[in-house]
Symmetry: C2
C-alpha cells in the first residue's frame, strides 16, 4: 500500500489531496482540502510560514509515503511565476525536510494521464478525479481536485513505470 500526497501549490491557496494505492494499482480516496494561506495575514513570509506549518500538520496526520506535485507550465508573467515559485519552493522544501521524495508532473501529462488528452479542461479533469475515486457528487474545491489529480497521476505513472505491484497482483490472481 502506497499513500500518495498530491500538492497543488499556490501563494493564496494550496490544494492537498491524499489517496491510497494498493498492490493492484487500485486507488482509493483518503482526504482532500485547500490550505487557505490568506487567513491570518497578508504578509508574504507569514503566508509561506503558514504553508509550512499547515503542510507539516498534513504530513503528520495523513502520513503519506510519497509526494507528487504539478510542475509549472510557463505561460505566466514573471511576477506570478515568482509568487508561485515561493509557494512551490516552500512546499517542496518542507516535504524534502520531512524525508519524503517529491515527484513532479507536467500539467499536460496529468491531463493525458487522467482524461487521455493534454488539452482537457479543468471540468473534465475534475470529472475523472470524481469517477476514479468514486466521489459521486461530493463537492471538490478546485485546488483540492487538482491535488488529487496529480496524486492519481503519480499512481498511474508508478504503475506504468514499474508494474511490479500490478504484475504481482496478476500472478496472485492466476494461482
Amino acid at each position: 500500500m502506497t499513500r500518495i500526497l498530491g500538492i497543488d501549490p499556490g501563494s493564496q491557496r494550496t490544494g492537498i489531496g491524499v489517496i491510497d494505492v494498493d498492490a493492484t494499482g487500485k486507488c482509493a480516496y483518503v482526504h482532500c482540502q485547500a490550505l487557505n494561506l490568506l487567513v491570518d495575514t497578508q504578509d508574504f513570509p507569514a503566508r509561506l510560514g503558514k504553508l509550512v506549518f499547515d503542510l507539516e500538520d498534513v504530513l503528520a496526520e495523513w502520513k503519506p509515503t510519497v509526494v507528487a506535485i504539478e510542475s509549472v507550465f510557463m505561460d505566466k508573467s514573471a511576477t506570478s511565476a515568482l509568487k508561485l515559485g515561493h509557494a512551490r519552493g516552500a512546499a517542496i522544501a518542507t516535504v524534502v525536510r520531512n524525508g519524503l521524495a517529491v515527484h513532479e508532473y507536467a500539467p499536460r501529462l496529468i491531463k493525458q494521464s487522467l482524461v487521455g488528452g493534454g488539452a482537457a479542461d479543468k471540468a473534465q479533469v475534475q470529472h475523472m478525479v470524481r469517477l476514479l475515486l468514486n466521489l459521486g457528487e461530493k463537492k471538490l474545491q478546485a485546488d483540492a481536485a487538482d491535488a488529487l489529480a496529480v496524486a492519481l497521476t503519480h499512481a498511474h505513472m508508478s504503475a506504468t513505470a514499474g508494474r511490479t505491484g500490478l504484475a504481482t497482483a496478476l500472478l496472485r490472481r492466476r494461482r
Copy 2:
C-alpha cells in the same frame, strides 16, 4: 546585541552573511559563506532540500536573532523568476519555521543604505561592506557579500526606525 543573518537566495548558490549590532548601532562581522546547492545533485527538489538543511545548520551554528533578505527586482524572465522564487520560498519558509522574523529589503534600498545611491554597482556595495565591517582585503564571494549587505541594511534601517539602541547609547555616553 542583535545578531542579523542576511540571506541572498539563489537556486545555484545562496549567500549567507552574519553580523552583530551592538546597542550603539555599531556592526561587527561574524561570518559569511556561500551555500553551494549544486554539489550533490542537479535534481531541483534535492537542491531545495540542501538549501533547507544547510540553512538550518547555519541557524543552529550562528544563532541569529533576526533575518534580512533581499526582495526581488523584477527585471527577470518568468523562468528565472520561478527558479529564484523557489529558492527564496524555501529559505523564507525555513526561517519562519525556526521562529525567526524575516525582513525584506529592495535592492535599490540596500544600495542607497550602503553607498548612498540606488544606482551603485556591485563593486561599490562590496567596497562598503568591506569598509563597514573592517574586512580589509579579505576575499568575499559575491553572494556572501550581498548577504552581508542586506544584513547591514537591516542594521541601518532598524537604527533609523527605532533609534532606541542609538539613543540609549548616546544617553549613556553623556552621563
